[in-house]
C-alpha cells in the first residue's frame, strides 16, 4: 500500500491513542524531577553533579521510550494493510517533537553556570534514546511478544549500569565535562547513535517468513 499524506493523517489519531502514554509520561516526569532537583533543593552544586542528573534524566526518559512500540493489540494490527515500518515510524514521529520539548525543558532546568556543553550532551541523549528505540524495534522484529517494554527496560537499565562500571575510562562514554576523554567519548557516542539508527532501520520491515527467536516467557 502506498503511503500518502492522507493515509498518515488518518493513521495519526489511532496511533496517538495507542501510544503507551503512561510509560512515556512517567519517564518524562521522572526525568524532569531529577533535572529540577538542584532548583528544588537550592543546593550549590558543580558541573559534575549536573552531568550526573542529566544522565539520570536521560536514562529515565529512555526507559519510558522502551515501551514505545508496546501494542497489546499487536496480533490484530499485524493484519492491517499499512506496513509495520510506517506505523513504527509514525509512532516515533509523534513522540519526537514532545521529546525535543522535554529535552529543552530539562536542559533549561539545569542552572546555566553548571550546564555542560549543550551540543555534546544532546548528542549523548539522542544516542541513548535511539538505542532504546532500536532495542524496542529489534524486540518487535525478532520476537512475537506484544509488550516487550518491561523486559527491555530491565535489560537497558542493567546494561547501562554495567557499562558505566565496566567500560574502560578511555572510551569516555561516561566522561565528565573537562575530563581528558570528553571529546573522544562524544565521537563514540556518535558511533553509538549511528549503530542504533542502523539497527532501528533494519528492524523496520516485517519479516517475510516467521523466524521466531524463542525466549522463555517470564
Amino acid at each position: 500500500m502506498r503511503v500518502t499524506t492522507g493515509l498518515l493523517g488518518q493513521l495519526a489519531r489511532p496511533v496517538l491513542r495507542a501510544l503507551p502514554r503512561r510509560a512515556l509520561g512517567a519517564g518524562a516526569a521522572a526525568g524532569l524531577l531529577l533535572a529540577a532537583l538542584p532548583r528544588l533543593t537550592s543546593a550549590d552544586f558543580d558541573p559534575r553533579s549536573a552531568m550526573l542528573l542529566l544522565r539520570g534524566s536521560v536514562l529515565a526518559f529512555t526507559l519510558g521510550l522502551t515501551f514505545l512500540l508496546d501494542d497489546p493489540a499487536r496480533q490484530v494490527t499485524a493484519a492491517v494493510p499499512t506496513r509495520r515500518m510506517v506505523r513504527t515510524a509514525l509512532r516515533t514521529a509523534l513522540v519526537a517533537p514532545l521529546a525535543a520539548l522535554w529535552w529543552t525543558a530539562v536542559v533549561l532546568l539545569i542552572p546555566a553556570q553548571a550546564r555542560p556543553p549543550v551540543g555534546d550532551i544532546t548528542l549523548e541523549a539522542a544516542a541513548a534514546a535511539l538505542v532504546a528505540l532500536a532495542a524496542s524495534a529489534a524486540a518487535i522484529r525478532l520476537t512475537d511478544e506484544a509488550e516487550p517494554g518491561q523486559r527491555l527496560a530491565i535489560a537497558l537499565l542493567a546494561t547501562s549500569m554495567a557499562a558505566a562500571l565496566l567500560l574502560p575510562q578511555e572510551w569516555g562514554l561516561f566522561a565528565m565535562p573537562k575530563d581528558k576523554w570528553w571529546a573522544a567519548g562524544h565521537d563514540h557516542w556518535a558511533f553509538v547513535l549511528a549503530g542504533a539508527v542502523l539497527v532501528w532501520a533494519a528492524s523496520g520491515p516485517e519479516p517475510v517468513r516467521r523466524r521466531r527467536l524463542k525466549l522463555t516467557p517470564s
Binding site: A30, L33, Q150, L157, A158
Partner: protein, 508 residues
C-alpha cells in the same frame, strides 16, 4: 431427576491448610529457580563474580587487613541486587501481563500466599550472594600475610542488600501494578541519592547517613578493627528488619490481613527501627578514647617482639607481621657501616586514628632516637617506604632529624634503602612520588617525606647499577665521612667511586 445436596461436604480445614503451605513452598521454589535463571540476574551474577576476581586479583601480594576486606565485599552485590529487584518485580506482575490473574481465584492458593511465595523466592538469590561474599572473604583470609579481624555485620550487608532489593521489588509490584514503575523508581531513587548524598551532609554522627544499604568511608586507610567505630551489627539488623518489613507489607496489602501477619509486621518494624536507632548513635566514648590513645600513646596498647638486634612493637592484630618487617630492617642494616650496623632499633607501628574513617591525617615523625615508624599497610611501595625510613634513621639518628636533611647523606639513605633489593630500580620508582627515576623528586616514607635532587638521583642510579658487591665495602669503609653533616653529593660520589655530578646541592 434432580439431586439435592443436603449438606456441604465436610471441610478438612487442617489438611487444606497444610496443602496450601506445601503449595506456597512449591511456588517459591519454582519462582526462585526462574528468578535465578533470568538473563539479567544471571548476567549480573556473572559480572559480580568477575568483579570479585578483579578486586581480589592482587590480594596475594598486598597483605590485606581483614577489617578492610569485609567492607570491600559490600559494593559488588549491588549488581545482582539491581537485577533481582527488577526481575522479582516483573515476576509478580507476570500474571497481570499475561492476563491470568482471574484464574487464580479458582486455585486453593490465596493471592496473599502467592505473595509470600514470591517474597520467599528471592531468598536463594540472597543465599547465592552470601556464598560469593564468603568466597571473597575467604580469599582474603587465605592470602599470605593477611591480618586483622572481619566483622560478621559488615559481611552480611551484601546478602541483605540483595534480599532487601528482592522484597522491595515484590512490594512495589503489589502496590503499583504498572510494568514501568520499578525501573523508573529505581533510576529516580538511585540518581537522587547520588546527588543528595554528594552535596552536603555531615559525615559523622549524621543519623540519615546510615539509612542506605552500603555506606562507604571518606578515608581509605587501615585501622585496627576495634577503632573503626562502624555500627556494622546495627546496620545489618536494620537491613534485615527493613527487608522483612517490606515483604510483610506486600503480604498485608495483598489481603493477608491475618493476626499473625500483623503481629509479625509489628515485630519486624520494631527490629528495623531498633537497628536504625542503634546505627544512628554517635561513636562511643570508649572508641573515641581508644582512638586518641592509639594515636598519641600507642605503647600502652601494643605488644612488642624481638627479632635479631631490634624490637618491633605493633597493635596486637599486626604482631604476625613483625617478622616481615624484621627482614627488611636486617637487610637495610646489613648494608650500613660503623655503629649503625649494630644499632638496636625500635620499630613502632603508628596510626592517625583520631578522625576514625572520616578523615586522614599525617603521622608526625618521631623524635625518639633510633625509633622507626611503620604504618598499617604493607606490600607494594610500602616496603621501600619503610626501608627508606629505617635507613634515614640509621644515617640521621632519628626521624625528626630527616626534616632538615639537605645534603649528600640522602645518597647513602637511598642506597641503604634500595641496595639490597633484587629489583632496586623498580623500588626506586615506587618510593618516589613522581614514579620516575630521573630528576628531583619527593621520597615517601611512613611519616614525613624526604626530597632528593636530580644530582642525587643520578648518583643513586649509578650506585644501584654498580651493585652491592662493589659498593658495600666502600660504604662500610667510609661510613663516618658519608654520614657527616653537610657532606656534599659530589664528595659522596667520589668516596663511593662513581662519577661525581656537577652542580651544588639545592633543595626545593
Amino acid at each position: 431427576m434432580s439431586a439435592v445436596l443436603e449438606k456441604a461436604p465436610p471441610a478438612e480445614r487442617a489438611d487444606e491448610q497444610r496443602r496450601s503451605w506445601a503449595a506456597v513452598l512449591a511456588l517459591a521454589l519454582f519462582e526462585a529457580r526462574k528468578l535465578l535463571l533470568r538473563l539479567p540476574v544471571l548476567f549480573m551474577f556473572v559480572l559480580y563474580a568477575a568483579w570479585i576476581g578483579w578486586t581480589m586479583r592482587d590480594a596475594w601480594t598486598t597483605y590485606p587487613a581483614l577489617q578492610d576486606v569485609d567492607r570491600a565485599t559490600q559494593t559488588g552485590p549491588l549488581l545482582p541486587a539491581l537485577a533481582v529487584l527488577l526481575c522479582a518485580n516483573q515476576a509478580v506482575l507476570r500474571s497481570r501481563r499475561q492476563d491470568t490473574d482471574r484464574h487464580f481465584d479458582v486455585l486453593v492458593l490465596e493471592p496473599w500466599r502467592r505473595t509470600v511465595a514470591f517474597a520467599l523466592s528471592v531468598v536463594p538469590a540472597a543465599a547465592l550472594t552470601a556464598l560469593l561474599v564468603a568466597a571473597q572473604f575467604t580469599w582474603g583470609v587465605l592470602a599470605p600475610g593477611s591480618v586483622g579481624h572481619g566483622s560478621v555485620g559488615e559481611l552480611l550487608v551484601g546478602p541483605l542488600t540483595v534480599l532487601l532489593a528482592g522484597t522491595a521489588g515484590v512490594l512495589l509490584a503489589r502496590v503499583v501494578r504498572s510494568p514501568f514503575a520499578a525501573p523508573m523508581l529505581l533510576v529516580l531513587a538511585f540518581f537522587s541519592t547520588l546527588f543528595l548524598g554528594a552535596v552536603p551532609g555531615g559525615s559523622d554522627g549524621s543519623a540519615t547517613r546510615w539509612l542506605v544499604p552500603v555506606i562507604g568511608d571518606a578515608s581509605s586507610k587501615t585501622l585496627p578493627s576495634d577503632l573503626l567505630g562502624r555500627p556494622a551489627a546495627w546496620h545489618a539488623l536494620y537491613l534485615f528488619g527493613l527487608a522483612l518489613t517490606l515483604a510483610l507489607a506486600a503480604v498485608l496489602v495483598n489481603g493477608g490481613r491475618t493476626k499473625t501477619v500483623a503481629a509479625a509486621l509489628v515485630v519486624t518494624v520494631g527490629l528495623g527501627a531498633w537497628g536504625a536507632v542503634g546505627q544512628a548513635a554517635k561513636v562511643s566514648k570508649a572508641t573515641t578514647d581508644a582512638r586518641v590513645l592509639a594515636t598519641l600513646n600507642p605503647a600502652k596498647v601494643q605488644s612488642c617482639a624481638r627479632h635479631g638486634n631490634s624490637t618491633y612493637c605493633a597493635f596486637p592484630e599486626w604482631m604476625p607481621r613483625t617478622g616481615t618487617w624484621a627482614k627488611v630492617t636486617d637487610n637495610v642494616q646489613s648494608l650500613a657501616g660503623g655503629t649503625a650496623a649494630e644499632e638496636k632499633l625500635l620499630v613502632r607501628q603508628r596510626v592517625e586514628a583520631r578522625y576514625g574513617m572520616d578523615g586522614d591525617g599525617a603521622i608526625e615523625p618521631s623524635t625518639v632516637p633510633y625509633q622507626v615508624t611503620v604504618g598499617t599497610r604493607w606490600g607494594g611501595s610500602r616496603v621501600p617506604e619503610f626501608a627508606a625510613a629505617v635507613s634515614s634513621v640509621l644515617v640521621m639518628g632519628s626521624e625528626k632529624a630527616t626534616e632538615s636533611l639537605c645534603d649528600g647523606r640522602m645518597v647513602t639513605i637511598m642506597w641503604l634503602a634500595l641496595g639490597w633489593q633484587s629489583d632496586p630500580l623498580t623500588q626506586l620508582r615506587a618510593v618516589r612520588l613522581d614514579d620516575g627515576i630521573s630528576g628531583s623528586a619527593i621520597v615517601l616514607s611512613p611519616t614525613n617525606p624526604m626530597s632528593m635532587t636530580a644530582e642525587q638521583t643520578t648518583v643513586v642510579r649509578e650506585l644501584l647499577a654498580a651493585g652491592q658487591n662493589t659498593v658495600t665495602p666502600k660504604v662500610k669503609a667510609h661510613w663516618a665521612e658519608l654520614t657527616a653533616p653537610k657532606v656534599t653529593t659530589a664528595k659522596v660520589a667520589e668516596l663511593l667511586g662513581v662519577k661525581a655530578p656537577t652542580g651544588a646541592d639545592k633543595c626545593e
